[in-house]
Symmetry: C2
Subunit: 137 residues, 2 copies
């Protein structure tokens, strides 16, 4: 998926992988140990670890045959930043009762006109991506 945020969210969308993160939060471990509590083949776990690794959530250091896996702290900051940004905004709008106001004066305010005329909502610095390239057959 290439962009970091997508990789991290996708990595954590799987419950097995979240479990692995939870396990690694208590201590480093090697692949066999990580696989042990799951009813999945070791190769399956290895693949899960690979996606965690390429999302930057985990690093591996191999000595001899053993590979010890370590939970990485930095990437969490990226997520925290994104989540907090929009959580904050969603809550602000909730507390201000913007939507209720819009409901009361009918249809216009709740739809796009308020957005365009920038009344209450000074823009957030927009996320860089939109205008997804269309798949033309």
């Amino acid at each position: 998926m290439s962009d970091p945020l997508s990789d991290v969210f996708a990595a954590l969308a799987d419950p097995t992988r979240r479990s692995l993160v939870a396990r690694l939060a208590v201590s480093d471990a090697n692949v066999g140990q990580l696989a042990e509590p799951f009813d999945i083949s070791i190769q399956g776990i290895s693949k899960h670890l690979k996606v965690l690794e390429s999302a930057g959530l985990v690093t591996k250091t191999r000595d001899a045959q053993r590979t010890t896996v370590h939970l990485e702290a930095q990437v969490f900051d990226l997520m925290t930043k994104w989540v907090e940004r929009y959580r904050h905004e969603a809550e602000r709008r909730y507390q201000r009762l913007d939507s209720v106001l819009a409901d009361m004066d009918g249809s216009a305010a709740r739809s796009g006109s308020a957005a365009r005329s920038g009344s209450a909502s000074r823009d957030l610095p927009p996320e860089p991506q939109a205008r997804t390239t269309k798949r033309k057959p």
Copy 2:
């Protein structure tokens, strides 16, 4: 995927959907307005909105033909809680230099023995899920 956290993370793993969230953070909007900046068919956007909705990130209220979409605040708390929990733990372990210590005294500490003997790491209340049902052919 049935469990809430998986749904939310999966929903946000797509850049188009994150863009939609970003757009909705500034104001409510209807489907057509939301679709406008993208090079994707309106039906495509409608599908994206459906996954955002079933993840609880968004609610729709339909009046007449128009459907206005609203960003929901609550679900963010769920994510924040999860992310902060492990971010905190990962950082704590980083600052304590647990891994460096483990590297120095050889192989034992870095692997599972430290986890079992609960030395430095008093357990986190473990995430409820593990023991994924195996797909036996």
